[in-house]
Amino acid sequence: MSVFWTILIVLALAALGYILGRQKALNSVGGDSRRMHSLPRYYGWNVAIFTMVPAFLVLIAWMFAQAEYVERHVTSMIEPADIGEGSNLSLVMADVRRLASGLETAISTGAMTADQVMALDASKDDIRGMLGKVGVAFGSDVTPHILAAAQNYREIVSAASVYRAIAVLAVALIGFAYAYAQTNGSFWARNRVEQVTLGLLILCSMIAIATTVGIILSMVFETGHFFGQYSWTEFFFGTTWSPNFHGNSQLGMLPLLWGTLYVSAIALAVAVPIGLFAAIYMSEYASPRFRSIAKPAIEVLAGIPTIVYGLFALITVGPLLRDWLAQPLGLGNSGSSVMTAGLVMGVMIIPFVSSLSDDIINAVPQSLRDGSLGLGATPSETIRQVVLPAALPGIVGAVLLAASRAIGETMIVVLGAGAAAKLSLNPFEAMTTITVKIVSQLTGDTDFAAPETLVAFALGLTLFVITLGLNILALYIVRKYREQYE
């Protein structure tokens, strides 16, 4: 029985439980709902919850366990020869799954019997053709191993799905019976339902914690493996980055850190003054009409995905800088450079700085502005000498948040900064960043035992720690700042 049908049956049971529970509670007080502790629907919900929640928990647990089991079992049947050029194990496994589901379809539509399916032989039968007839398109030809794996896969899955359905439905029925037996008019159904609801709410809010724990654990674990194979002093203080998939790699982080900081510094040098001045202009000077155009326009910059900025850097800004600045000045002839990535990233961060600054400048009480203007200060004197000093902590917080964003930005540097790990001062040279190297070490063929792959986790952890520090510091400053004017 498929998951879909199992879920549907459980839901139907729950609906039935709702109706019966409600009815039983009403009957127990002779139909006079005023004599019940809770509203009738809560008795219904109580039974429905007890039917659904445990059953679904069992279902989820079962599915994870089953996926794990089947995958391990079937994967072992695939041999390296089955994995074609440019393909990988997961793509082959997708073929296996598709084939298995095709076979299943063939059985359910009656084109074949289960025995016929098991008797198929890839070397004799035209499996593609057969599947084509039942409406399952299959891209490549089927090799014997894949067929065997798929037959095996189908068999395990179909057997498991029967047990799964039995287990899930049994749990649902037990829950149903328990809650139904409890139901009578004096039972505190509302409190029970509300308790369960509250429990679910708490569970949902725990996901944030679980995510952080997951991030830290997943990276700490693999970073531990990495430092088991590679000296941590060389990682943190090494000045050469040259991974080599035949071993003997030099994996010093400093060039990457340098590139990251250099790009971020340029981005902030662009974004902070522009963002700050734009925020000041729009909140203190601009006419309502100008503001109604300029403000959304700058906010649109924040809604544009980073890949778009990356493409902009790659096809426009990079060549422009190369042809008009770098080459005439003799500073290099690479389209991707620290300057390209920094400028484009700066543009991306402008709205971030300006909207945060806007909030912060507006949090400065009007009475301070009045005080200054009332003494005969010009608006700009008021802003520079009263508003900005008062807003300074908040603005520092905003800049730190912007810095954290710049340091963690990936797509712009992947497309704009280049891939060469270098310790250089020339902003028109291609350099690379931590994020770029995480991407390049973790995409393509990866061997999770090699330090060249594991180093990505150490880089990720470093990045996470740096941004976490910046974020917490910034959030703390901004929070303190807001309290000051509340």
């Binding site: 309502p288 009480p365 009475s367 301070l368 502005r369 009045d370 005080g371 200054s372 203007l373 009332g374 003494l375 005969g376 200060a377 010009t378 004197e381 000498q385 009263v386 000093p389 008062a390």
Partner: protein
């Protein structure tokens, strides 16, 4: 009204400092102030009284063009300071506000040191050539505001750390440090406790020797205590203007009388 001490009358000798004619103020389409004619005398405390929303604060803010900072406000008519129309296109509000200082309802010291709070005005207007001159201005201003003895040992500590009454006196000191000719005060005591209020009122009385002081107040007792002349505003109109003693003891307009006796307001 037994506690009402009516200030001594010595106003006859003073000449007019500000004269307003046919002043209208609109907030958007709302006609907030209608046909106000007033002559404010030099070296005199003038009180504006009236119920909330009567336009007294609005008129006060016209006198140093603080209404310019409200986008929807529009002012018509003429207001002359020493014979010059302050709404003339050639007048720079910045220069005007150096001559007509303002103290606000809520104490609003800048988040800077006490010293920097006072020095702010003289610095922006370039009133001093040396640090010692600036020190002098800070000291005299604080002395005039009767705050010197309380803060002279902690001029570097932040102005926001003072008590409410001290903060308001700091704001007054800040306003007089720019050497204005007129000092506008918008309900300067409404956020203060009675003791601090008494201190500020005493200070206002002393300031009269050098400035023309205009004070908006919601308290009739305060008007009676500190002012020599009083203007009563009601629903955007200037109802009655005259010597404080006369307004409080023998009002000519029935609306003034109703307000004084507590029937409206």
């Amino acid at each position: 009204m037994n506690d009402m001490r009516i200030a001594e009358r010595d106003v006859e000798t003073n000449e007019s400092k500000i004269s307003a004619r046919k002043v209208q103020v609109y907030y958007g389409t709302n006609h907030a102030l209608k046909d106000v004619d007033v002559d404010i005398l030099d070296k005199t405390v003038t009180a504006f009284i009236g119920p909330s929303g009567c336009g007294k604060s609005t008129f006060l803010r016209c006198l140093n063009r603080m209404n310019d900072t409200v986008a929807s406000a529009r002012v018509e008519g003429t207001i002359k300071l020493d014979g010059e129309n302050i709404y003339d296109a050639k007048v720079d509000p910045v220069q005007l506000r150096a001559k007509v200082g303002m103290v606000f309802q809520k104490p609003n010291p800048f988040p800077k040191s006490i010293y920097d709070n006072i020095a702010y005005g003289p610095k922006i207007h370039g009133l001093t050539r040396s640090k010692s001159e600036l020190d002098g201005i800070v000291e005299t201003s604080l002395k005039k505001a009767a705050l010197w003895n309380e803060v002279k040992d902690r001029l570097d500590s932040p102005g926001t750390g003072l008590s409410g009454g001290q903060q308001q006196r700091l704001c007054i000191a800040r306003a007089i440090a720019t050497q204005p000719e007129v000092l506008l005060m918008d309900e300067p005591c409404s956020a203060l406790d009675p003791i601090a209020t008494a201190q500020v009122e005493e200070l206002i009385d002393e300031l009269r020797s050098q400035f023309s002081v205009v004070i908006v107040t919601h308290s009739m007792q305060q008007a009676a205590r500190v002012s020599q002349r009083t203007a009563f505003f009601h629903l955007g109109n200037l109802v009655e203007y005259g010597e404080t003693g006369q307004i409080f003891t023998n009002p000519k307009d029935p609306r003034t009388e109703s307000y004084i006796t507590g029937r409206i307001g």
